[in-house]
Structure formats: structure tokens, C-alpha cells
Symmetry: C2
Subunit: 305 residues, 2 copies
Amino acid sequence: MSLVIIGTVAFDAIETPFGKTDKIVGGSATYVGYSATKLGVNPKLVAVVGDDFPNETITDFKNVGFDLEGLQVKQGEKTFFWSGRYHNDMNSRDTLITELNVLESFNPVIPDSYQDCTYLMLGNLSPAIQAKVINGMTNRPKLIAMDTMNFWMDIAMDDLKKTISMADVLTINDEEARQLSGEYSLLKAAEKIQEMGPQFIIIKKGEHGALLFHGKEMFYTPALLLPSVVDPTGAGDTFAGGFMGYLASTDDISFENMKRALVYGSALASFTVQEFGTDKIKEVTSDELKERINEFKSLMSFTHK
Amino acid sequence: MSLVIIGTVAFDAIETPFGKTDKIVGGSATYVGYSATKLGVNPKLVAVVGDDFPNETITDFKNVGFDLEGLQVKQGEKTFFWSGRYHNDMNSRDTLITELNVLESFNPVIPDSYQDCTYLMLGNLSPAIQAKVINGMTNRPKLIAMDTMNFWMDIAMDDLKKTISMADVLTINDEEARQLSGEYSLLKAAEKIQEMGPQFIIIKKGEHGALLFHGKEMFYTPALLLPSVVDPTGAGDTFAGGFMGYLASTDDISFENMKRALVYGSALASFTVQEFGTDKIKEVTSDELKERINEFKSLMSFTHK
């Protein structure tokens, strides 16, 4: 089944306690996309870059199976750039630089060949643009998932609530779930957010795993313990790409299958954080992924006497 | 199999965002003990109180199956008293008052009838006293578990390391594991602590669950999501009591059974936090416990295609 992804394709400059990078390729659509390809899906990108974006990356995107018909390359303009520094605990970070560049006037255009979209992943972007993509689909996709962040709650809550009401799955971190719902208990927060529209809420807790809520049903995956976390950038997007990639490749949106999708998302995210940027996730083999899924299984399973 | 528990039996005065209590009965041995009784175990207590300790509680201890031969009641002295205030996020707290009272001169005496001890739980106390109890056992128990806290790392690290080297299971929270090992990664921390002696390390992460490490094996239980957490006091001790109570009642220390024990510990701890002090854990029925174990199972289990 076809997966359409809208999000950023960007340059990131990252500082963590393990080192720092120059401008490297990042962005939500990049991580979502790479992650989905690990599940045999050819993601159809809707995104924008400037003419400074490297040809080698475009070629790599194509080689791993991205459909780039919806990728706009703006001549004479520069690619979105973000720079950040992670604190020692890797759970929080400061943004050092944000240069919107091409994003400032981004007007997503959905190619006709994307209209067969059954799974739509809206990476973190302004809720107005996310809504525009939904409205640009002739037929409503089978499943619409969206990511967002506190920034949009601060400056565009009304727009955000409108877009949320159109989505089936909302992925959000724990603090953002609390801010959006006004509830401290994540259980109550997930209930309230479900009332806003989406029937499935995924609350991401970083190193503490992720929760999936659907009505009274709940499922939890831990984050895999790693000897070291080098760079958390893109972990949430990799997770979303694994989740949606798994659903698209199996074309099954039952709760039971979503549980598996959550485990695949967590497993893929655990690769991303092991190296800077996309260095690790790009190279993950299906054997590595299989092994990691088994690690999750053994971490979580017990026999009940 | 017999379970001996050493720890505090205390008065607590607790303030949380949900309210405050006068002096109520608390203490590590109290919570460990109540929790173990829920698994059909009659815990043998080694502890000390003053003559101000309420007779009704002593009676209740006996009624639920505690063996109190090792409980010293010091005439003319006062029971250990702790008072604390939890912050809004319930993950951290300030100690307002600590009155050691009878604990200052506590000299644990192991009754002869406790010498059949197969499972020994050393609640948080000075490591010298914990070691004294181990040494007071004619035959080494089959499994010795100990709890500790950062306080002892700050003032008695050498003693602590000596006692840790004598234990099979160390329960410790994430920050303490990092302090004890000097490693930020919990994976590396657990490895280093295993080199200190205990073959089993349980890292407690509060609302983020608990991890069990044994060699290269690992198991994780989340904490159950609750509509509200009223008072976290005693959650870690209830967890330890459930863990050791389950092992003692099944008399099986395989890793597979320890995984189940971890789930029972987590399930019992989830009751404690729902009301102040021991109000909830005291009243838990076996049906309630069974239901909660099932909730854990559904929260954690997925079928792998």
C-alpha cells in the first residue's frame, strides 16, 4: 500500500556530549522516509529543499526507493537549517539556529501519482500546511497520522486542533500531551486527546519508551537500552516512519497490528540514536532489524502462570 | 518458603499535591511485608519500634500473617519518624524531618525461629546493619535481596560495597545506579554493579517502570498508568515485597520466574500509590491483584508475526 510523507528535508548541525557535526542532512521526512524503506515501502515524499541540497543525497533517496515527484527544489533558495545542542542527559536540547529559508513559503503540491495514497504521514510542520495536504487528497487515505510539537500549541492552537480533528493517529511526546490536554496523567491526557478526533494516540517518552492508546486499550513499548546514545535527533521521526511503514507494508490497521507497528517503530528508532544524523538508520539491514525485534520481544515478554 | 524482612517500621507524615497526612504508619518493612502477604507469604519481620507505636497496627500485622518475633518494642523510646513533601511531578521530594529515635541504636536480633530463612529481603537501612543480618544467619539464605539509597553512597560507600558484594539481588533507582557505577548508560551501570557481586540488578525508574538485569539477559516492566497517583511513598518497598513474596511463594529463582516476580512487584506497587500510606495496599484482594496482572499482560504483550 502506498505511503505519502510530508515533512521537512533539512540541514542539521548537531552538538551532543559525544561530538558535533557540520551541516548534515536531516529533517522529519528524511527520517520517516528512510525508516519506512526498511519495511519494504517506497515512501512518496512531499517536501521542499533549496538548490544547495546535495545531489548525492537526492540520488541516495532514489536508490533506496523514495518517490520524489513531490519534492520541490527551489532554485536560488536555501534549504531549511536547524542547529541544536543536547544537554548531558540527552533528554533536552537548546535550539541554537533556525533558518526557515524555503520553508517560509512552502506550498505543498500533491502529484497526481500520489492520489492512490492509503497511508498518510504528516511530519511536524505548521498545522495549516498539514491540513492543506489532507484536503489535497481526492480520496481520504485509509489512515492519517500526524506529528506535532509544543511550538504549534503556543502560536497556532486553533489551527492545530482543527488539523488534529482530521487525523486518525496523533504522535506527541509526554510533555506536549500534557500541554495539549491540560491533564498531568497521561491516561487522562490520552482520553481527552481522543475526544479531539484521533482514535489512536501515541505518546512518545524518549528513553522511557512509547504508549499507544485506543479507547480503553493500551500498549507500551520500552526504548531499547543501548550502551550509548550518540544523537537523539530524528528518533521520533524514525519511530513514526517505522510505525507507518509497518502498517503500510502489512495493510492492517487492527489494534493488534498497531502494537507490532509500535515495536517496529521503536526498534528502528533505536538504530537512529546510535550515530549522528542518518548515518546508522540508512545502513540498517533486515537481519539487524530482525535481531532487534527479537531483543524487544525478550525484553517485554513473560509467561504468566 | 520463608521470607525474612529487615527494614524500618515507622511513622510518616506526607504532603503531596493531593493532600497531607498526620503521622501515619509507614516504613520499608511495613510495605515489603504487606506486599508479601498478598502472595500468601507470612513475612518474618526484623525491625524496631518505640512504645508510641499503635497496638492496632501490631494487631493488624499479626492478623494479616506477619511473624513479629523479631520486632523489638523499645520502652521509653520513640518510633522512627520521617516527614516529606512531594513536588508537583511526584518524581522528587524534599525531606522535611528525619527523627531516627529507636533506629539510632538498632541492633537487629534474629530469632532462632527465623533461621529457616530461604529468602531474605534487606530493606533500606545502614549497610552495616544489613551486613549484620546476613552474618546473623546460620545458613546462607537461598536468595538475598537488598535495597539501598544514595544517602549511604554519600556517607558509607565502603560499607555499602561490602554489603552489596554479599547480596544476590540489588534493587536501586536509576539515579542511584548511575551514582554507584559512575556510568550514565543503565546498561553499563547494571554491568558494573554485577561485577560488584549481585547477579541480579533491578533498576527502578518510578513512573517509567523497572528493569531486571542478569548477565546478558534483560527484562522490563512498565509502571501501570493510573488516573492519579496520590502518594508514591512505599512504592519501591511494595515492589520489592511483591518481587520477593512471589519468589518465596513459588520457590523458583530462574530468570523466567523472576520476570513474573517483577510484574507482580509492579502490580502491587501500582496499588500503593493510589492512596496515602498503606491505605490501599492493605486492602488489596486477590481478585484485584489478578485483574491488575492481566492489565500488565495486555499492556506488554504483542504477537510477533
